[in-house]
């Protein structure tokens, strides 16, 4: 474990790894790691590790100003990769705090003792709806702190259906009907976290014994399975802007906010709110953090109003703080599914079942 080092001058930060390298391989490397900011010699350093689509530099600057620490933000891959890196380095963490593990992987962090329970100061009451297993209602600490939420939903291209004179689909069952044959682009749940979220929805809807049959019917009906969200949305969806041919795609509840016209009068896409699965992204203090107080301050910052109001524009999620005013396009065209309308499973159920479900899918439809 790394002891807290209160004073960390830029010069040392640059020199130390270089000396280390030189000691190891006898070569003097010069010129790298030159990005250390100047003039922060007296502040204590705290490191936040995040997933890939996070505005690192902006948050680092804003969080440093807000917390009084020298906050460094580092990237460690997408949700699954980030989780596994945290699990592998448990005990000697690569950072003090983390952000960006969602409910698909949340249980893995808790069960492997990677995180330290913490309840951030000033946590908004509206966020209690998103804690794991509803914990924290009595003021006790959270195993993981919810920061933002969204939903994975099937999206459609209404104009396409109008043109074809075909009724718009609305439910999971509709997608397997013959009139919607070969119109759907799905995501491989083994490769994409959005795809995994959709899988969770189908398990919640059809049960552990019935979901594979549903997927079988979908693929028999000509659904195309893509590897990543961008392959499906940009590559396959008729409204992806890249000439795709499928008017039905697995995406997010928020996606229609990004297909609005310039006057904000209409959106070219619509999310089917009966096909949604909730996604919650968590933050937390890592066990064995070198700077535990700093890590707690950073988590406090992540649920503060100042950070929460940047979430929709920067990360395409809804903040847990309900008092944040949502952008106009979101409010008009990207409504969240109502409470109880989503198809969800508890993180612990997901963690226990996930591998088996994927195995079953692999055996039935060759995924």
């Amino acid at each position: 474990m790394m002891p807290a080092r209160p004073t960390h001058t830029p010069a040392r930060r640059v020199a130390a790894p270089l000396i280390a390298l030189a000691a190891v391989c006898g070569l003097a490397l010069t010129g790298c790691a030159g990005s250390a900011p100047d003039g922060q010699a007296e502040t204590e350093k705290v490191t936040l590790v995040v997933h890939d689509s996070f505005p690192n530099d902006e948050v680092a600057a804003a969080a440093s100003a807000a917390t009084g620490y020298d906050v460094e933000v580092i990237s460690a891959g997408d949700g699954g990769e980030l989780t596994n890196k945290l699990v592998l380095t448990a005990g000697a963490p690569i950072a003090d705090a983390f952000f960006g593990v969602d409910n698909i992987f949340a249980s893995r962090l808790i069960e492997r003792d990677v995180v330290e329970p913490y309840r951030p100061a000033g946590f908004p009451d509206s966020g209690l709806a998103f804690t794991i297993d509803g914990e924290g209602a009595d003021g006790e600490p959270f195993s993981l702190t919810p920061v933002d939420h969204g939903a994975t939903c099937v999206n459609i291209d209404p104009a396409w259906f109008a043109e074809q004179g075909l009724a718009e689909p609305a439910t999971y069952e509709d997608l397997a009907k013959p009139e919607y044959a070969a119109l759907t682009a799905l995501l491989d749940p083994t490769a994409s976290s959005t795809g995994a979220s959709f899988l969770v929805g189908t398990v919640a809807q059809f049960g552990e014994d019935g979901f594979a049959d549903y997927w079988q019917r979908l693929t028999d009906n000509g659904a195309r399975i893509e590897q990543g969200w961008s392959d499906a949305y940009y590559g396959q969806f008729t409204q992806g802007g890249e000439g795709g041919t499928k008017p039905i795609v697995v995406s997010y509840a928020s996606s229609p906010a990004f297909t609005v016209d310039d006057e904000l009068t209409a959106s070219r896409t619509r999310a089917l709110l009966d096909t949604c699965t909730r996604q919650v992204e968590y933050a937390g203090v890592l066990q064995g953090a070198a700077n535990k107080a700093g890590a707690q301050a950073v988590v406090d910052y992540l649920v503060s109003h100042e950070f929460q109001q940047t979430i929709p524009d920067a990360m395409y999620m809804s903040p847990v703080d309900a008092s944040v005013e949502m952008p106009e396009a979101w409010a008009k065209f990207a409504p969240e599914p109502a409470e109880g309308q989503t198809h969800d499973l508890a993180p612990s159920v997901i963690e226990r079942g996930r591998e088996g479900w994927l195995q079953t899918l692999g055996d039935t439809i060759g995924l």
Binding site: T30, C32, S35, D52, A191, G228
Partner: protein, 570 residues
């Protein structure tokens, strides 16, 4: 041999110390930053609560999916290697045996596909064959054909360079004699030239096989689950499932494939080096004539259809807006990224960062690669030393054949204050150039080694006879020649480091967004215009690497002992 004993007698303690150091430095680098992390991660998969647990081996090899994945790996790499050879030989002939204006430019351009990031290649091919792509009507999307074509795309240049540089130095007189005796052009080629080229062909095919069997980005994007190879399966097991046991077993399978390929290629290469006569000077090449038309035709088809079309598709799509209009908006977004794009800063900053990191990686690879090439070019008398040399050679090549995921996660579990240095290297920017240098190192060695091996032993012998000490021989004969190819090697490793995606993307990155990583993130992001900006960034990256390769081609110096012809890749 008399020379050996005499020079050996004169070998001073300093020389022994020098060679030991020249071996130890790169060896230590490879052990610390490659072998240790990779073996640590594999070991984690094979231990359970501190006890050795090999139960995963029969379990994983008992699964049908494992064999499907291994079978796919061998099938894809085999087909790609065969096709790359078939297309690479005419390219080698045109580029290395014929003389025409613009040849140097073509040399440089041919290398571009090789140094392009695999993400870009994958995106370009799916843009071409996928839905709404210009070649969608062929119905080849999601087929093994497209996957193999995409794997061949970067590797024709490998075959062309390997075979071409050898071909150019091949003594034509036997083939001419066969013609004089009445053999037709084709017969003479098949019975005389082709057998002589065989070792170079085999060596090139082995190398392409190695590259393709560990291809990550291309297979992931174009293959999906159906065409998973060992590399993408290790990625899934490690990154998605945290199934380190399964990943460890597959890593062993990968080691086995790499080792077998290296052994076969080394055998074939050695067999070839004894058998054919090479000239020191390349003669003046012939001007293209009617007889060369078939070769020129195949080469032109390869260059236009396989190389130019996917790249042009990419460029054209980067110039299109979301509504299909022509626009520079995608490029403008790189200069002044809108807040919603996952770009930390204007792309110029990512470019500058990439260039700095790649420059360090290239220098590191060049220095270590020179030392390795010098050590490997010696011909020690002791069989033990020769065997050790062979192992060393294999170790240097190994980073090409080991999963980037395994390396990335391995570095994660070993670089926390490694060797008691009291500094956490895991989150340091330093690991990025180190990982890139590991990938570039085999390329540097393969460029430099033929130059040193091509030096006529008699020259060293003559120098020694005239009284030059071994170090003087080294300083006056080996090093100057090495220096001549250093420009090309540096350019190559710089371009390779600049485009490196796999290993870099699995490191923990302290706010350092290199250009290939930015391309990957832009292409996968939800923001409107992000995909287009990603394509624009890919074009920018391709242009940068192309420019570097063209400059590197010019850096080669013609020389008496073969700077120009021998300083080719592999």
């Amino acid at each position: 041999m008399a020379r050996r004993s005499r020079t050996a007698a004169r070998t001073s303690a300093w020389a022994v110390a020098g060679w030991t150091l020249a071996t130890a430095l790169p060896l230590a680098f490879l052990i610390v930053f490659f072998l240790w992390p990779v073996l640590s991660l594999v070991a984690t998969g094979f231990t359970d609560d501190g006890r050795l647990d090999l139960g995963a081996v029969p379990e994983v090899f008992g699964a049908a999916r494992t064999w499907r994945v291994i079978g796919q790996t061998l099938l894809q790499a085999g087909l790609a290697a065969a096709l790359a050879v078939v297309l690479g030989v005419p390219a080698a002939y045109v580029l290395y045996k014929l003389d025409f204006p613009g040849r140097t430019l073509l040399h440089g351009l041919m290398t571009v596909p090789f140094v392009l990031p695999t993400v870009v290649v994958g995106v370009a091919f799916s843009a071409l064959f996928g839905p709404a792509g210009p070649l969608e009507w062929l119905g080849l999307d999601r087929t093994l054909t497209v996957l193999v074509l995409a794997l061949v795309f970067p590797n024709v240049a490998v075959v062309a360079r390997t075979v071409g540089s050898f071909w150019a130095r091949l003594d034509d007189s036997s083939a001419m004699a066969a013609r004089v005796m009445g053999a037709g052009r084709i017969r003479a080629w098949c019975t005389v030239t082709l057998p002589a080229l065989a070792p170079a062909l085999a060596s090139a095919a082995a190398l392409v096989f190695l590259f393709c069997s560990t291809s990550f980005g291309i297979v992931l994007i174009l293959g999906g689950r159906e065409f998973s190879n060992v590399e993408t399966e290790i990625y899934r097991l490690t990154v998605q499932f945290l199934d380190l046991r399964g990943a460890a077993v597959l890593s062993l399978a990968q080691f086995a494939i790499v080792a077998a390929t290296l052994v076969v290629s080394a055998r074939l290469r050695r067999a070839g080096e004894r058998a054919v006569e090479l000239r020191e000077d390349a003669p003046r090449e012939r001007r293209p004539g009617l007889a060369e038309l078939p070769a020129i035709f195949v080469f032109a088809c390869t260059a236009l259809l396989l190389h130019a079309v996917p790249l042009l598709t990419l460029v054209i799509r980067s110039l299109r807006g979301r509504d299909g209009d022509w626009t520079l908006a995608n490029y403008a977004a790189l200069v002044q990224p809108p807040a919603e794009l996952p770009l930390d800063a204007p792309v110029a900053q990512a470019v500058w960062l990439s260039i700095r990191i790649a420059a360090i990686a290239a220098l590191l690879a060049l220095v270590l690669g020179m030392l390795i090439a010098l050590v490997l070019s010696r011909k020690p008398a002791a069989p033990g030393l020769r065997r050790a040399q062979g192992l060393f050679d294999g170790l240097v090549m190994l980073p090409l054949g080991v999963s980037a995921v395994t390396l990335g996660f391995g570095l994660l579990i070993t670089m926390h204050r490694p060797l008691g240095i009291g500094f956490d290297l895991r989150t340091s920017t330093v690991l990025i150039p180190v990982a890139q240098a590991l990938v570039a190192l085999p390329l540097v060695v393969r460029i430099l080694l033929p130059v040193l091996r091509g030096i006529d032993e008699r020259i060293r012998f003559a120098a020694a006879t005239l009284g030059a000490a071994p170090m003087t021989v080294l300083g006056t004969i080996d090093l100057p020649l090495l220096g001549r190819s250093a420009g090309l090697a540096l350019g190559f490793s710089f371009a390779a480091s600049l485009g490196e995606f796999g290993a870099t993307s699995f490191l923990v990155r302290p706010g350092a967004q290199t250009l290939p990583v930015a391309v990957g993130e832009l292409i996968g992001h939800q923001a409107p215009g992000s995909y287009g900006a990603g394509l624009a960034a890919a074009v920018l990256l391709g242009t940068l690497t192309a420019a570097i390769m063209l400059i590197a081609e010019r850096l080669r110096v013609d020389g008496r002992w073969g700077g120009r012809r021998q300083g080719e890749l592999f």
